[in-house]
């Protein structure tokens, strides 16, 4: 038995809850109004444990999926594992070089060309120059940007930008790869390509840690799954069992609550809430009645944006995409600090019975994405019709169920 690639023991991370602005002024600290830098374990008021008593091992070559609703501690765990923030208690031993894809395109500079950004990004991700040079062709081919290699990336389309960013990160030669939800960006074809890339990485015996709301991707990629709830691991089992347990639990609620505030973004998706037509939150809707996907957007500075909502099957197939504004004049404008709820009203009789999820983006008038997030799973049921009993088994029905007119033709 060799030592595990990642060994987590009694890990805990405590955060202080912020009031007001995200940073302190000197006056606050001097007068004791703000939290003090060096104080430890004083009062527990206004503090919460994002992670607690977390222990698990990942053997080398294993692929581990992490499931849990927003605020369950997934992102915190990944941030600690990739050494962005340090834990409050416990310890982690990592054997091997780690690459983490927490957000693709980190460190890209708009003024620099594609080629320059590949080298810069490679260095940020810990690659040596020679390594980048060796992989340059593969990266460029993967990203499909051959013709624009020497164009500043500020002129790239958002698709090209994301492809390039993923390509650089995916071609790192590391022992352990940590992947957070990078797959919801880009088109379906590119998503498939990314999944394939991660799969081939794990096939070469490297260790992969994967966080996603996309259950089918998790099922395909991972052998094992850990379900996080309120900062603790409630299940550690083969991936299908973990997924089933997560989907069966209330933790998989349609409204996953607020996404954590991130003031590094201009504007943010704070919440995705599926609602009934009368505005009641629910996990289950009637196919024959339609429903609402409400998106809470919070601006951190004055910004003009549109919201895109997409609906997907639980297997991650995108069924529909709708934009809040079809021209720049109709874009929404929001002052910094303000929060706004925009709702897409999904008409009745479009979808069949089944489990679905919503994805939301906030986008600027130009190329790029301000922020995006994946909502929880919700169920559509037909409480009146007989459709689920007609024909073959329920799993063989289609995702769409439009109001199709039938005629008898002569």
């Amino acid at each position: 038995m060799t030592a595990p690639a990642i060994s987590v023991k009694g890990l805990g991370k405590r955060y202080r809850l912020h009031r007001g602005p995200g940073y302190r002024t000197l006056r606050e600290t001097i007068t004791g109004a703000g939290p003090s830098l060096f104080s430890k374990g004083a009062v527990d008021e206004g503090k919460f444990w994002a992670l607690r008593d977390l222990s698990f091992d990942v053997p080398a070559g294993d692929t581990l999926g992490i499931v849990g609703r927003n605020g369950a501690g997934k992102s915190t765990l990944l941030k600690i594992l990739s050494r962005i923030t340090s834990p409050t208690e416990g310890r982690i031993d990592i054997r091997g070089r780690v690459s983490s894809l927490l957000e693709v395109g980190t460190g890209f500079h708009p003024e620099l060309t594609g080629r320059e950004n590949i080298f810069l990004n490679g260095a940020i991700l810990g690659m040596h120059r020679a390594e980048v040079t060796r992989n340059l062709d593969a990266i460029v081919a993967f990203a499909e940007i051959e013709k624009f290699l020497d164009t500043p990336v500020k002129h790239y389309s958002s698709g090209m930008y994301v492809r390039l960013a993923f390509a650089v990160a995916a071609h790192l030669q590391t022992d352990i790869m940590i992947v957070d939800e990078v797959l919801a960006v880009g088109d379906a074809e590119f998503q498939k390509k990314c999944l394939g890339r991660i799969q081939s990485v794990s096939a070469t015996g490297r260790t992969v840690l994967f966080v996603s709301h996309n259950m089918s991707a998790l099922g395909q990629l991972c052998k094992r799954g850990i379900v996080l709830k309120e900062g603790r691991a409630v299940m550690d089992a083969p991936i299908q069992e973990a997924i089933q347990s997560y989907l069966g639990s209330a933790a998989a609620a349609a409204d996953q609550g607020d996404f954590p505030e991130d003031t590094t973004k201009k504007v943010q998706v704070r919440r995705i809430a599926p609602l009934t037509l009368s505005g009641e939150p629910a996990n289950e809707f009637n196919c024959r009645q339609g429903f609402i996907v409400a998106v809470d957007v919070q601006a951190h500075e004055r910004v003009k944006f549109a919201v895109i909502v997409a609906l997907n099957t639980a297997q991650g197939v995108r069924l529909l995409r709708t934009v809040s504004a079809d021209s720049l004049q109709k874009f929404t404008e929001l002052d910094g600090g303000r929060r706004l709820r925009l709702a897409a009203v999904i008409p009745a009789k479009i979808f069949n019975e089944g489990v679905f999820s919503a994805t939301a983006w906030v986008v600027p008038g130009s190329a790029g994405v301000y922020d995006w997030a994946e909502g929880g799973l919700f169920t559509l049921r037909d409480t009146e019709g007989m459709i689920s009993f007609i024909g073959e088994r329920k799993t063989d029905t289609s995702a769409l169920r439009l109001d199709i007119e039938w005629r008898e033709l002569q």
Partner: protein
Amino acid sequence: MSNTASASPETADVITIKPASGWIPLELSEVWRYRELLFFFIWRDIKVRYRQTIFGLAWAIIQPLLPTFIFSVFFGKLAHMPSEGAPYPLFVFAAMVPWQFFAYSVSESANSLVSNRNLITKIYFPRVLIPLSAVGTGFVDFLVGLGGIFAMMAIYHVAPTPSLLFIPVFVVLAAASAFGVGLWLAALNALYRDVRYTVPFLVQFWLFATPIVYSARIVPERWRAVYGLNPMTGVIEGFRWSILGVGQAPGTEIFSSAIAILVILVSGLYFFRRTESIIADVI
């Protein structure tokens, strides 16, 4: 897939992640491992900084030249400030170039963590590279400015003396004091944004507390050691002496400046490391 074999987990180094407490080791070897990233940061900043400018890198000379001109008119021509026998504009310019190096590096460092917070909250690398690259970028400007000094010496027919050989010593001291002060301000600014507003005044005040428009000789001998506690006193005096070869080699103030620099640098490194562990959570 490339065929490079990655180190197997059995042989690879073990990284241990633990709560940060007490004196956190500086891990300078890790900074060395990431040296390529440092060069990339410097390269990126230089490349982006002078993009879409008409004068480009010439700004590295124009920036110290403009205040030199103003000081020469007011202090040189009108107030007849003594300049140890050297032409007054050259006397000021030879101090202005290393001063700009310091001032630029310090102001850039102070804001560096905040302006790079997208990186800091998303990916790991030794954070100290960020203020260090600000000093590196300042250094490139400094080298151009140094060329400007030699050009001005040629214009004023001032020949270099053997004391020129000491220049590297003072350049290292200038870089060390910029880095040390930069570390303190960068970490403080990440915690308290008040710092950002005080830096411009600090730099302005510091300029006059340093022998740039005047000579350190106007300070009485018995106060020199105290005066040298301003780290830039020793740096500027020493630098000007080795360039122009005028006056006698400065002693006391360089000694106390060197000690001040060492204290600021080492304490700055530890304070920065201490802040580093919580930086992604508070920035």
